[in-house]
Amino acid sequence: MSRYASVLDLIGNTPVVDVSALSPSPNVKILTKLEGRNPAGSVKDRVALSLVEAAERDGILKPGLPGQILIEPSSGNTGIALAMVCQLRGYHLKVVLPTNVSPERRQLLHVWGAEIIDSPGSEGSNGAVRLAQKLSKENPEWVFLYQYANPANPLAHYTTTGPEIYRDVPEITHFVAGLGTSGTLMGVGRYLKEQNSDVQIWAVEPPSGEMVDGLRSLEDGYIPPIFTENHGEQLLDRKVVVRPKESIEWTRRLAEVGLFVGISTGAIMCGAVRCAATIPEGQEATIVTIACDDGWKYLSTGAWSDDIDDVVERAKRIIYF
C-alpha cells in the first residue's frame, strides 16, 4: 500500500541499496540506506518528528494552541526537517543559522515557513548552538528542543532506523555513519549491539575543527551530551576522520553507481571503504552505511562538475556538510 494520510507518515521505512560495486573486496558487501527519501529530504526528518512528538507527550508543546514558538540551532538538515514538521503541526520555528551556509539551505527553511536568525559564520555550528542557548534563556517561553542533548534524538534511531536496518540486512557485520549530534550512531548502534553484540560501529567525523577560526581555545570544544550520556566511547568501535577532498571524491564515485547523494554521504562512504579494507582476506562482511540526504542542496558547490581543488577551497568558506 503506497497511500498515506499525512506527509509525516512518509517519514522512515527508507530503502537500502547495494553499492558493493565500490567495495575494495569481493567478500565485503556495502549497502546504503537512502535517507534522502524522507519528505523533507534527510535522515533528520526522523529526529525532528521524534523531538516534536516527545515534547507534545511531555506537555511542553500543545497541539492546536496558537502562538507557540520553537528555537533550534542548525546548519542544515535538522532545521529544514523541523520546519516541515512545525508547519504541519502549527508551531512557529526560529532557526539559528550560521551566515555562511549554502543558499539552498536558507531557501528550504523559507519553503517550510521557518524564521532565520543569523549567527556568525566564523563560529560555525558551535556559534549557532551558543546563540540559541543565549536566546532561549532570554525568552524562556520559547521551546528549545536542543537536538544535541535531547534523548528523543537517539530514540528516533533506536526505534526506527536501527530496526529497519536489522530487518532488511540481518547479516550486518558493520555499521558506518557520520558523527554530528551522534544521534544516529548512538541510537542505531545501541539497537544493533543489542541484537548482535559482534556488530561493529564505526563513526566518520568531518575534519571541521581545524577550520573553525572562532575556536579560541580547546576549552571552547564541544562533545554532544547525547554522546556522553550514551557512553559513546564504549559504544563505538572505531572513529575515523575523512578529509573534504576524499568526501567529494567518494560523492562522485557514488554518482558513478547511480546515487546522487550529499557530500556527507561521500565522507561516510569513504569511511565504509576504509572499514572494508580492514576485513581480512577470505572473511565475509556486510557493511551498512547511511546516505544522509540527496545531492540537490549541494549543486551550488559544483561538487560534481568543478575542479575538485576549487570545490575543497570553497568548502572552507561555506558550510556544505
Binding site: S75, G76, P98, N100, G121, S122, E123, G124, S125, N126, V129, Y148, G178, L179, G180, T181, A203, E205, P206, P207, S208, G209, E210, M211, V212, D213, G214, L215, R216, S217, L218, E219, D220, G221, Y222, I223, P224, E233, L236, D237, R238, K239, V240, V241, V242, R243, P244, S264, A315, K316, R317, I318, I319, Y320, F321
Partner: protein, 94 residues
C-alpha cells in the same frame, strides 16, 4: 625516523606558531610526551593530570582516532601521520 604531528590553529600559540612538529616514540603517548617536553605550554592542552588525553582533543594516527586504538598506548610507526584536532559539534566547515 621522525613522526610528523599536525598542530591545529587553536594550539599554535603553544608551539610558537608551528603547524607541524616532529616527534618520535613507539606509542602516541611517547610521541606527544616528547613534543610537550619541547613545548611545555602544550602539555596541559594535550593531557589531563592523570596522563589521559584532554577531553576536547582528538588525536588521529593516519586519520584513525587513537581513543579507539588503545588511547595513549596506541602504537605508532615511523611513517605514520599524527593529526591533532579540537572536538567540536561536527557538521560545521567555516
Amino acid at each position: 625516523m621522525a613522526i610528523t604531528v599536525r598542530i591545529p590553529t587553536v594550539l599554535r600559540p603553544a608551539t610558537g606558531g608551528a603547524a607541524t612538529l616532529l616527534g618520535n616514540g613507539a606509542t602516541i603517548g611517547e610521541v606527544l610526551g616528547k613534543i610537550s617536553a619541547d613545548f611545555p605550554a602544550l602539555k596541559p592542552q594535550l593531557f589531563n593530570d592523570d596522563g589521559t588525553l584532554h577531553r576536547f582533543l582528538n588525536v588521529y594516527v593516519n586519520d584513525d582516532d587513537v581513543r579507539y586504538l588503545g588511547g595513549v598506548d596506541a602504537p605508532v610507526g615511523p611513517n605514520d601521520d599524527v593529526t591533532l584536532l579540537p572536538a567540536v559539534a561536527g557538521g560545521a566547515l567555516s
